[in-house]
Structure formats: structure tokens, C-alpha cells
Symmetry: C2
Subunit: 440 residues, 2 copies
């Protein structure tokens, strides 16, 4: 029986445990999974396939994994920049959300985010938002892979007007989506340790454990948050979460900028995971995470873009470049965050951080066929000495030519297949025409 697809004529960056790079390799795909990854042997005929995909000498790599998004926030891309955090949140983002976020706008904002991500080589994202059921419907229709967390907060939120219902709403959402789709993995996203009470946090974690899903939370993002916890609780936000028992290997801690050494030891001991969002942290002036020290603790760290309102795009190639460079500058050590380490944070380590490393994150036999081809026949990608260097330091999302999720081709020659991009853009522009930023 022939394979469904054979991808050939490219350099395979496997991101397997040996970080193997296979020049002139082939990948055979059957029933949505990777059946073979190997070097072309000159003396054997190519395997039979229903369809051959020519990588044209480019780089074949795992689909990228974005560990932190708020997908519908594409609607607010560039609405307000360069403002103090409280002005930005309280005078722009929160009012825009309360007025313009509904099932319909969430759907179109999410579809736009999916289009942007898949075209730029991201095949999986880990999201948190309110109205996450609408996010899930859109992502499922689109055909991407995602861990999608229903937001929990002790304030009225879109879709959850009564905060007393926040955990119950999240529970019902998770129970529904555990049965619906193989691509969509439900999750619970508590907003922060200061916008959720102890009761909310412990109940949400308890439901997450009962249902076996990822518990996500923004934490230690700003100095103000850290200082508030030190003042009110006489402990850091991480220590506080640990005391409540919400840190375990199924917890994703987003941001983790303002950590002390004891915090890092706690995160490592609990085997919790971190989503690192350098561009958002920089743009909001939240600070610089002690990432190279966290790496030394062996903590699973995945890169994330955060929402489009604080980045302002979802390009994980650019995020890799930023992560690699930022920590060299902040530590004055050019050897930290080398290209291979950073690429793992956007693939296999990201998959591990969100609990999907058995299925995705590297190109290995038996894994899902989530595969990206990078077109290297461009001035800024010539010459090539080390493919992983180009992925991190020279390439951009726009260099992606082909993208496959579970063996389904979603992007070919840089164009979205089977998706009406013009309709998505038109609908988002229509919604945006009613949204106004702060007076200039």
C-alpha cells in the first residue's frame, strides 16, 4: 500500500532527542501520521506514494507550537501601543473587550489568528480567553491543532456575567470539548493569582485535575504584581500558588518574569511548565525573564506570542529570534539561548510544556504529521551553513511555503487552501470599523 504523501528534496530538521539534521531526507506520511523519516538511499527506489511533495531544497521542520495566545485579540492589533500598562488595559483593551467581544466577533478574530498562524508555520497553539467555546468552534472548523482554555476570573466577563459561575462554566466547556474533536484539547485558564480568589484557584485546579486537563495561569508578569504579593501575603506569587497546591506537571505558568531563586526551585520541583513571551513582555515593559537560569533547572519552557494587542503579530519565527537575542543582551553572554535550544522551545519543549510531546513537536516515526516546509531560495536565507541558525536568526513566518496538520495540507506555496481568507479579512475589517482606540 502506498503512503499518502512523501515529502522529499529537503533538509529535515527533526528536533528529535539527538537534534538530528538529515540532508536530502524524505518523510513518508500515512493516515495523518509520520511513518518514516530517513535519508534518501541512492540505491533504492523512492517509496510509493499517492502524492509527492517537493521541498525544493528547503528546510522540512516540525510545525511550530505557540504556547500562549488570546486568539480573538487579533481584532485589537495595534489599537493602542506605547502606553503605560494600566492606561493600555483600563482605557483601551478592557473597554474594547466589553463592547466588542461577542460570539460573532470572537469567531472572526479567531479565524484571522488561525490564518496568520498557519501561514507562518504554527500548527498548534495554546490559548486562553473568555467565550472559549466560540474560539474552539472556529479553530476546529479551521483545522488547526490547539489546547484551548476557558478563562476564569472573579469579575463579570464576556459569556460569564456572573463570576460565581466561572469554574462551573469552565467545567462544562471542558466536558463538552473532551468528546468533540481530536484536534482540540480543552483546558482551564485562570486569569491571574490576583484576579482569582484562593477558592476560585483551588476549585479550578481541582476540576482540571479531575478532568485531566492543563491548568494555565498568567503569573509573575509585572513587578507590581510581585510587590503586591510580597506586601499582602508575605510571599511571592509562585510561592502563593504552590501553597494553594495548584502547581504540578499539568500546570502552565505564563510569563514568569519576576522570579527569585526559590521560585525557580519550586517550579522545577513541581515539574510545572513555563510559557515565555519575550515580545509581549518587552512591548508592555513588564521586564526580562531570567530564562537562561530557568533552562538550567530543566523546566519545560515553550515560546508564546501572547495576544496580538501586545506583540503585534503571531509570528513564532520572529519570537524565536527575539528570545535568542534578548537573553544574550540581558546576561551579556552570547552563548546562552543558542539556536538549537530556542528552536526546541518553539517545537518539542513547547509541546512538552502543554502536554502534547507524545504527539507533536518533532519529526519522528509515529508522531502526528504536523510539518512545515521553509522555502530557502530567498536572498536573506543564502548561503546556508546551519539550518537551525537560519530558522532562528534569519527566517520569518513569510518564508514558510507549505504546512500540514495531521497529514492535511492547509498551506501550499504560501497560500491558504480551502479557506476564504478574503471573507475573514472583510469581516474583521467590518468589526474593526466600529472599534476606536484612545484619542491621539
Amino acid at each position: 500500500m502506498p503512503f499518502d504523501f512523501v515529502i522529499h528534496n529537503g533538509t529535515i530538521v527533526t528536533v528529535n532527542s539527538d537534534f538530528e539534521i538529515i540532508e536530502n531526507g524524505i518523510i513518508c506520511i500515512k493516515k495523518g501520521k509520520i511513518a518514516r523519516v530517513e535519508k534518501v538511499a541512492d540505491d533504492t527506489p523512492p517509496p510509493e506514494a499517492k502524492e509527492f511533495i517537493d521541498a525544493c531544497g528547503g528546510i522540512i521542520m516540525p510545525g511550530l507550537v505557540n504556547t500562549h495566545t488570546h486568539l480573538p485579540m487579533t481584532l485589537f492589533r495595534g489599537l493602542a501601543d506605547d502606553l503605560p500598562l494600566d492606561t493600555w488595559l483600563n482605557e483601551t483593551i478592557f473597554p474594547a473587550e466589553s463592547t466588542h467581544i461577542n460570539s460573532e466577533s470572537v469567531r472572526w478574530g479567531t479565524l484571522l489568528a488561525c490564518a496568520e498562524m498557519i501561514i507562518s508555520g504554527t500548527t498548534t497553539c495554546c490559548d486562553g480567553y473568555f467565550l472559549e467555546n466560540d474560539v474552539a468552534l472556529a479553530v476546529n472548523d479551521f483545522g488547526m491543532r490547539a489546547v484551548l482554555g476557558q478563562g476564569v476570573i472573579d469579575y463579570p466577563a464576556p459569556g460569564v456575567p456572573d463570576p460565581a459561575e466561572n469554574v462551573a462554566t469552565a467545567k462544562a466547556y471542558v466536558e463538552k470539548w473532551k468528546k468533540v474533536s481530536t484536534h482540540i484539547v480543552p483546558s482551564i485558564f485562570c486569569h491571574t493569582p490576583y484576579t482569582c480568589s484562593q477558592k476560585t484557584l483551588t476549585e479550578a485546579k481541582s476540576v482540571s485535575q479531575e478532568l485531566g486537563v492543563l491548568f494555565q495561569i498568567h503569573v509573575a508578569e509585572t513587578k507590581a504584581e510581585r510587590d503586591q504579593f510580597l506586601c499582602e501575603h508575605k510571599m511571592t506569587p509562585i510561592k502563593y500558588l504552590d501553597k494553594l497546591g495548584v502547581l504540578d506537571e499539568n500546570t502552565l505558568l505564563v510569563h514568569c518574569i519576576w522570579l527569585n531563586e526559590a521560585d525557580m526551585e519550586i517550579i522545577a520541583a513541581r515539574k510545572s511548565n513555563i510559557s515565555h513571551n519575550p515580545e509581549s513582555n518587552m512591548k508592555l515593559a513588564s521586564g526580562i525573564s531570567p530564562l537562561s537560569r530557568l533552562v538550567n533547572y530543566g523546566i519545560a519552557i515553550g515560546l508564546g506570542t501572547d495576544g496580538c494587542a501586545s506583540n503585534n503579530n503571531l509570528d513564532l519565527f520572529q519570537e524565536m529570534d527575539m528570545a535568542a537575542k534578548l537573553h544574550k543582551a540581558s546576561t551579556l553572554d552570547p552563548t546562552v539561548m543558542d539556536a538549537a535550544t530556542v528552536l526546541k522551545m518553539a517545537t518539542i519543549d513547547a509541546a512538552r510544556a502543554i502536554g502534547l510531546d507524545d504527539a507533536i513537536g518533532s519529526l519522528e516515526t509515529g508522531k502526528q504529521a504536523d510539518i512545515v516546509i521553509v522555502d530557502t531560495n530567498k536572498p536573506h536565507l543564502v548561503p546556508i551553513y546551519h539550518p537551525e541558525s537560519h530558522i532562528v536568526y534569519a527566517a520569518k513566518g513569510s518564508d514558510v511555503s507549505d504546512v500540514m496538520v495531521a497529514g492535511n495540507i492547509l498551506v501550499r506555496d504560501g497560500k491558504l487552501l480551502a479557506i476564504d481568507l478574503d471573507e475573514i479579512i472583510d469581516r474583521v475589517n467590518e468589526i474593526a470599523s466600529n472599534i476606536q482606540g484612545p484619542a491621539k
Copy 2:
């Protein structure tokens, strides 16, 4: 008489002194210069033109100005990363240069750099290298605009085996190129204050003054350099250069990371200019420039990518994003380096820093028609609230659709015109096949 071109159906980001943004504007071009920049008036017929260029609703902006490059170093893109500076320089870059840099390789490396820059919206660069005559020949053939500095160093260098001839060689180069081309402006580039003697520095500056050209120098790039000057000369590198009399309004100081307040005052008082290269400074872990304080001194600051061996691309859109975000993170102030400030550093302020602001850097009547159109009909550029925000925070060089230098169209629909890109790529790959990086 009709105009040569009329560009229409776009939002013009003029970057003029009022930072005027014109929705539905037109630009009329005649004999390589901008003849009119205005809003379309509904009640008057469009002006007559030999050719209309439809911006398709995109952004029309000045060509970007890259204030620091080493063009031929595209040959070493990604050859070695993530290494300590001395290992990188002494074990990889210097040996590669001494073995592989010659007239032929410089030509092809430079043409590749020009292709990369022009396709990504950079119409002018300011370069420094050895064999700069070969760089100039290639840039001139290509049709870009550039300030090109012959390198001066007190060691044997490609094309200048006897260091005693370094200033004389630079002088002869400048005298030749002052007569050859309107696009190429010659300059002198002293390598650093520690690789050029006092005699070399003062003679090179004296020749620069005599011939009226820009004097460039790398300075205050590393902590080691600063510490060496404090130890040997009991003063900072900037103070040292000032004592030698090389700082004036025709001086471009590249990097300027390790400055104290007195250094900033000197630079401002001398009206010297700065090239800021955040990506290179980060990748080499040189440090973080006190940029937002330099801005407050009113110093002309232009962005630069540096050479491809330490970036690893020449995309000024990405450099803008990095500059905007890095200084927010390092100062913990999200209001510094706002989008408009950063865009100016890649256009009009960059032009001022290299002495070309009368001719380029903004879209204004009488200036050279160096113009870029950004295609905004892409998922990551939707919706648009503020065009300058998208230019800095969301767009990439790959979003550029059309580029004109002095009224000559060099890029149309993202494709290079009249340049055989395949030949450039083939020749560079051939040269690179003989270059080897350090063992892994």
C-alpha cells in the same frame, strides 16, 4: 507635461516634520523626484501620468535607510553563532575574511545584500568594509543609493596589505567615487579607536574633512573596550575621540553602548550622529545602548542592521520592532521608543545621521523618489488602526510589494526587476561551498 509616475490608492506615511499621514493620497513623480504629495480631491480629475502605480490600499512610505552594514558579510550569514565574541571573531570571521574575501567574492556578497535590502524596503545603506571600491561598483550596478566607507585599520587588510597605506588608499577611493555616481556617496570608515592609532584617526578625519565626507567609526561597542580605555587612557572611548578632534556633525558613531552621561553630552555638543544596531548588539551580547536617554539629547540616531554575520539578516522592519521593544524592556517604561520615533530612526533621522536628509528620508516635494509600498492585505496586517504601528510592530520586509529608488522601479509585486537573482544566489552558494565554520 504628464508626470512619469503617479502612485495612488494608498495611505501615505510621509514622515515629514508633522508626521503627516494621508489617507487615500497620491504621489506624483517626475525626473526621479517627488513633485507632489497630496490627498486625492474628489472633484478634480487625477493628474496625467505616463504610468499609474496602484498601491491597492496599502501603505506608501519612504524607502528605509540602514545606517550600518558590512555588505559582503552576507557570505558569512549563520557561519557561526552563539559564541563568545573573541572566539567568533578570531576563530571564524577573521580567518574566513582573510581566506575568502577578494574582489570577486565581495562583488557577489554585495549584490546579494542589495537584493535582500531592496526586496525588504531598504533603499539606502551606509556601509563600511575593506575593498570598498568593489562594494561601490556592485552597489552602483545594482542601482541602490548608499554611503560607502573605505575601511581603515592599522593591520594588513584585504586590498590594503600595508597598513601604512590605509589612509592614502581611503583618500584615493573617496576622490574617485566623488565623481562617478549620483547614487554612491563615498566615506571613510575607521575600524575602532583601538585598532587605529591616534595618527591614523586624526589623518583619516582630516582627509574626511578636506573632502567633505562622512567619517564613520565603531565605538563603545563592548564593556572590554570601554574598560581598556579607562585603564590605558584614563578616559572613555568617546572622550578620547573628542580629544583627538574627530567628533563633528560629519561623524557617525556606530554602536555607542557603553556611554556615560558625559559621553552623551559630548556627542550632543559636537552634533555627532549615532548608528544604533540593536539586533547585532544583542546577538553578540555587547550590551544595551542607553537609547532613550540619547533621544532626549536630540542626537540624530539611525537604525542599522550591522553585517549579516551578527544579525543574521538585513531586514530593517525587524530592526524597528527590536529597537521599539528592547528599550521598553530595559527601562521598564512602555512609553519610550514609540512607533513614530522608531520609524523616524529608520527613515528621516537615519538620513540625517548620514548627511542625506535634504535628499531622502521622507515623502516631500522636491526629495528623491525613494519610495516603498507595503501590501497590507495579509492576515498579520489586519485590521489597521494606525499605519505607523503596523510598520514597526507587525510588518516585515517580506510585506513590501514595490520599491523605487530615484524614480526607478527596482521591485514590483515583491519581485526584483532587471536583476538576475538566481545568478547571484548561485554564485554566492559556490563561494560559500568553500567556507567552513568552526567544528560543532
